[in-house]
Every structure is written in C-alpha cells, then in structure tokens.
Symmetry: C2
Subunit: 199 residues, 2 copies
C-alpha cells in the first residue's frame, strides 16, 4: 500500500495554500488587483506558478477567496458595532465610524475592496458583500422604525443609500491616502440624519 495523504502532508498543503492567499492579500494591499499577476503571487508565496493552480482552479477563484476573506473581516467588524447596545443613532454611528476608520487605516486594501475595477467574478462577490453591509443597516433601521424611533421608510433603500454614502465619501480620501480629520464625524452625522435619527 503506497502513498497516502497523511496528516503531515495535508498540513503542509494547507500551509502552502495559506501562504498563497497571504501573499495575494499582501500584494493587493500594496498595489491593488491591477499589479497582481499570478507569477508575482507565486513569487511572494515562494512557490512556482504551477503550484498556485494546484490550489485554485484559476486566478479569479484565488482573488475571489482573498476578497471574500478580507471583506468578511470588515463585515464582521461592522456587524459587531451594530450589535452593541445603545440608541439607534449610537449604533449607526458605531457602524459608520468602524467602517471608515478601518478603511482609512488600510487605504489601498480598502480601495481594492470598495472601488477598484476588478474582473466580473470578483465584482459579483463585491455585490454580495455590499448586500451584507446593507442587511446590517436594514435590520437596524427596520427594528427602529417598528419601535417608532425612526420615521417610516423603506429600510432596503435607506440601507443601500447608507452603504453608498460611506463608500463614496471615502473614495477620494482613500485615493489621497488619508482623510481630513473631519471626514469621519461628518460622515457619521450625515448618516444619522439620513435615516431620521436624533443625535
């Protein structure tokens, strides 16, 4: 009975796969999707280009996974902020400032996740995650409207608009490399007003 894939080997395989993902993340964070060839990824991970294809069917799949992992981290952070106790305004403020501060702390990566042109497969993933953000805000808004803390409104539309407002208000600062000190509080105030909450 010859070769079997032992736990030790599996572990090494997993480590290689992880290092590929890691190298890709690092490259995206440094130069965005644009400057991210498979050859560069492989070099970054210390493997041959062919090895990348033993772990991912194609480049899009690799990028999709990297995008998914990075974005899920952000979504989780915002969801945690939304789950904290407090008034609607406080919770929304927490969400917005969490999102904005994290984005501004890693501007190149944030730009890649939010706005950089990507191929259609990754773009589809981006839509999925925008929906995840939207759902967080929609739930918050829906509850507050039901409880009478917010004026009647279509939570889906409001939530989508909030997500767009956050993204757009940060695109220019992300390009510039840093936001003015006032951007985050201004944006949170904007969002609080937009859903009709009292500060």
């Amino acid at each position: 009975m010859p070769y079997r894939r032992t736990p030790a080997v599996q572990e090494r395989l997993d480590a290689t796969r992880a290092s590929i993902v890691e190298a890709t993340q690092a490259l995206v964070a440094e130069r965005g999707y644009a400057g991210c060839s498979v050859a560069l990824v492989a070099a970054g991970a210390g493997v041959a280009t062919g090895t990348v294809y033993r772990h991912f069917p194609d480049k899009a799949a690799l990028f999709t996974e990297v995008f998914r992992v990075a974005t899920q981290r952000e979504v989780d952070a915002v969801a945690a902020a939304a789950a904290a106790p407090g008034t609607v305004a406080e919770r929304v403020e927490a969400c917005v400032s969490t999102f904005a501060r994290r984005a501004l702390r890693a501007p190149r990566m944030a730009y890649a996740l939010i706005a950089e042109p990507v191929d259609p497969q990754v773009e589809a993933e981006r839509l999925t995650y925008r929906r995840a953000y939207r759902d967080i805000f929609a739930a918050l808004i829906d509850d507050a409207v039901t409880a009478g803390h917010l004026p009647a409104q279509d939570a889906q539309v409001s939530a989508a608009a909030v997500v767009g407002a956050m993204a757009e208000a940060l695109v220019v600062p992300l390009h510039a490399g840093a936001a003015s000190r006032r951007t985050v509080p201004e944006l949170t105030a904007f969002v609080v007003r937009s859903i009709g909450a009292l500060p």
Copy 2:
C-alpha cells in the same frame, strides 16, 4: 496642386467619426463595455477596424470620449434641476429624481456609467464626473448652510455621500432591470433628510 482636404471631405470625416462614437454608445447601451470590442464597434459603424484608429489613438480614448459625452448629458440634466427655483429640499429632490429617473430609463447605460468595471483610463474619467455631481450638490448645500436653511456641515463630505447614496441605491434596481415604484421617492426623501432639510 493636388489633393487638399476640402470641406466636403472634412464633413465626411466628421460624419464617420460621429458614427463610430454613435455605434460605440449604442453597443455600450446594449451590452456594456464588457461586450464591446473594437471589431464590433467598427462593424456597427460600417467601417473597417483600422478606420477606428484613424479617428482615435486607441480604444481607451474612444471609450473615454463616449463616456464623457454620455455622462456630461446626465450632469447637465442634474445641473439644470439644481438651478430651478425653489427651496433647498425642492431643488435637491429635483436633482435626485432627475438622476434616478434618467438612469432607470436607460438602465444598461446607467450601469455602465455608474458602476460597471472599466479600464483605469475610463475609471479616471468616472471620478471626474462623480466630482461634477458632487460639485452641484456641494454648491447647493453650501449656499443653503450659509443662508441658514441647513444645519452646519462639510458640504464636500455631504455632497460626496449624496452622490454615493444615489449610485448605490440604484445599482441593484439597475441590475434587476427596473426599480420598485417606491425607490425614487424613498431615495429623494433619504437625501433630503440626510442634509438636514425640512421637506
């Protein structure tokens, strides 16, 4: 004294150029940038591919011009709405509904202008036009704040957020092909609230 470029010839050249631009617009409106090869553009304009390159240095230049013309039309429409007399709320409402209605009337084109992945040169143009939209709203907000009709706020941030809100709230409807009847009024209400205007 042989060949000179006579007015008649110049007219024909201009017409060819225009038909190339027109064919590109039609193609983008129909299938987006993704399904828009130079060969297809040439076929649509009834010329050979080489002819396209006698009018534009490269594909990106052609696309940039098409994008610019199409977007300028939209910006002008919104600017006209902003210039109409009325309260801040009324004028902002007019801007938002103008933008939204026009987008929903030509969803594929609107998606191409607002959100479809494009190559970096066209993306740069997109940023320029987002800034144009932003400037319209920023001027409106600035004036109203100065006049005491709106609470103090950073007009640049608010305006950027408004633009993002409009874009994002429409992306899903544009993908779906049509918006719910409520989307436009909900969005206008959102924007009016967001800048602190009284309806």
